[in-house]
Amino acid sequence: MSNIDPVLLLSALIVVSTPILLAAIGELVVERAGVLNLGVEGMMITGAVCGFVVATASGSPWLGFAGAALGAAALSMVFGVLTQVFLSNQVATGLALTLFGLGLSALLGQGYIGVKGPSVPDLYLPLLRDIPVLGPVLFRHDIIVYLALGIVAGVAWFLNRSRAGRVLRAVGENHDAAHALGYKVVRVRLMAIAFGGACAGLGGAYLSLVRVPQWTEGMTAGAGWIALAIVVFASWRPGRLVLGAWLFGGTTALQLALQASGGVQIPIEYLQMAPYLATILVLVILRTGRAPGSLGRSFHASS
């Protein structure tokens, strides 16, 4: 254990948690608007493939990220139209979206397996990067890491401080009342779903463009489900969401570091379970929140 460098571990933690954080913050907004979209995994993997295809075709990772956000948002609109306009069951439609996304991404990714993508440079922050300890942990990452944290801060501000954010929460808490007050429930929800899709897409593209960086079928490997769980256990609060994502990322990075440091006495099976157990445990202990009142219920102006 003694030969694990905590600075490198913390730095790895932030990178490992970024895709989950991105997907989770999107889903948090969706759920705060009263919609349960279980299709996060499908949107993530679609984002991963769209991002990779656009980035290799254009040579620009930034266009790739834009393509990922657009592609996944477009996919989320399938869910949006089905659940908000045609009032289909949200759970079933969300699950279908995951399956559809996995299949669609495999199809789109044909011919991109094993291809090398363009590389994403780390953001060069002079001075800041040279601060001992904090420099390598916080200030030597690529721009998407900061973008993810920026989105979380923005969402926190939006939900708690802005008028539009309060409308969104009202829609999520009680859609009938919000409707009676003259808010456009369906429109607000569609926008939230599109935002959730775009964020999940960015998270997926972070995997295929930064972390790996390659395209493989099924490469999100359950990250979308982790994101969903973190939203619930974080009691729908952005601050706790960051905590949950870092905890998960931290234990994931730690278990690999433990194996790599040599001479660990803990069986590897337990190490591999650790991220899931730790995340669930801590967030359950912290849990005080309540789900948005209208979560998962269909809304129609006539009812």
Binding site: A12, G114, K116, S119, L256, Q259, A260, S261, P267
Partner: protein, 358 residues
């Protein structure tokens, strides 16, 4: 209604079956791969073998393949389907397909099966594997000479004898040329998962490794090493030349082409028999990919010398005196390991730290 449907289905199935038999002059050869062909590693090389068969026999054969088949019940389903569609011979190209292969082989005694890296055989099931550990020994020598941190990272897939053999063979040679060397092993529990492999590589690099050996099939560890800078890697299963001259400084290439051509030829001639093949560098089944200029000339010479000595049978990578990890004697001075022990190898040699997961 249901009975009628069933009957209709049965007639259709029979029509398909007779159709398949009617064109039996063509030998149909099936392949199942554990990863995508595009892994540019293990499955890619098996597919090269399939293409070699097509080229060698032209119109005499028809090949079919299914990629990314999970090890488990799915494999059995895919194999059954292949056999039903009239395959005369099926190559199952991953250790984890062993049970599925044996089960399906029992149901289709007329179909010849070739299972890679397994140990169970039957009248219609052959096994074949390559002595990858010979190549690992050459990698170990280069790794031991090249490392400056004296920490060598090793990404293991599953703790099965084949992988453990590779770790031991590499360690023995590395230790020989560099007594200070230390191995760090991360088990990824996958043959192919670029995200996991990349993370494992990064964790090893963070732990101080400047040489990464991998027993997983994707190029993700190569990409991670390239990004980290001063780290060298070896191509696994395939040449992985995209990453040469650095990080990839050499590779083990599995060359199945000749074996596949020979075995398919045997089926066509009707001389096929159940056999057990375990071939090494001398037969060409294990190739050492070009050693790049990132490796100093004298190290390259030494590596090639070792390779030639192994091919000539003068050097066995497992030659005593060797102790087991717990310090007990395994091989006495000059004694070499027999194939039986090697096939079931389930312990580390002395000096490697950590436990093999059970």
């Amino acid at each position: 209604m249901t009975i009628k449907k069933l009957l209709l289905g049965a007639t259709a199935a029979m029509a398909v079956a007779t159709g398949a038999m009617a064109q039996d002059d063509k030998t149909k050869v099936g392949f199942i791969y554990v990863g995508p062909i595009g892994d540019l590693g293990w499955s890619y090389q098996h597919d090269q073998g399939r293409l070699a068969v097509e080229e060698a026999f032209g119109d005499q054969v028809e090949t079919v393949y299914v990629e990314s088949v999970p090890e488990g019940p799915d494999a059995e389903r895919v194999l059954t389907q292949m056999a039903l569609q009239g395959a005369d011979m099926i190559f199952t190209t991953s250790f984890g397909f062993m049970e599925a292969t044996m089960n399906v082989a029992q149901k289709f005694p007329d179909v010849k099966f070739e299972h890679a890296t397994g140990y169970q055989r039957a009248d219609n099931v052959s096994t074949y594997s390559a002595r990858f550990y010979e190549g690992r020994a050459v990698q170990g020598l280069i790794a031991g000479e090249m490392t400056e941190s004296n920490i060598i990272g090793y990404i293991g897939s599953y703790p099965i004898p084949e992988v453990i053999r590779g770790i031991n063979a590499a360690y023995i040679q590395a230790k020989k040329v560099n007594p200070e060397v230390e191995f760090r092993i991360v088990w990824a529990y996958t043959w192919f998962d670029p995200a996991k492999e990349a993370e494992a590589a990064k964790a090893l690099i963070d732990a101080g490794a400047d040489v990464i050996l991998q027993h997983t099939d994707s190029t993700a560890p190569q990409a991670a090493a390239q990004e980290a800078g001063d780290v060298i890697t070896f191509g696994q299963a395939s040449d992985m030349l995209d990453y040469a001259p650095k990080p990839r400084v050499s590779s083990i290439i599995d060359n199945w082409n000749q074996y596949y051509v020979d075995r398919v030829g045997a089926v066509i001639d009707g001389t096929w028999e159940s056999t057990d093949t375990w071939a090494g560098i001398d037969s060409g089944m294990v190739e050492i990919g070009e050693i790049t200029e990132a490796v100093p000339a004298e190290v390259r010479e030494a590596a090639l010398e070792l390779k030639d000595a192994i091919a000539a049978g003068e050097v066995h990578p497992f030659t005593g005196p060797l102790n087991k990890q717990d310090g007990s004697e395994w091989l006495a001075e000059g004694e070499t390991a027999d194939d039986g022990t090697l096939l079931g190898l389930n312990f580390y040699v002395e000096g490697i730290e950590g436990d093999i997961p059970q």
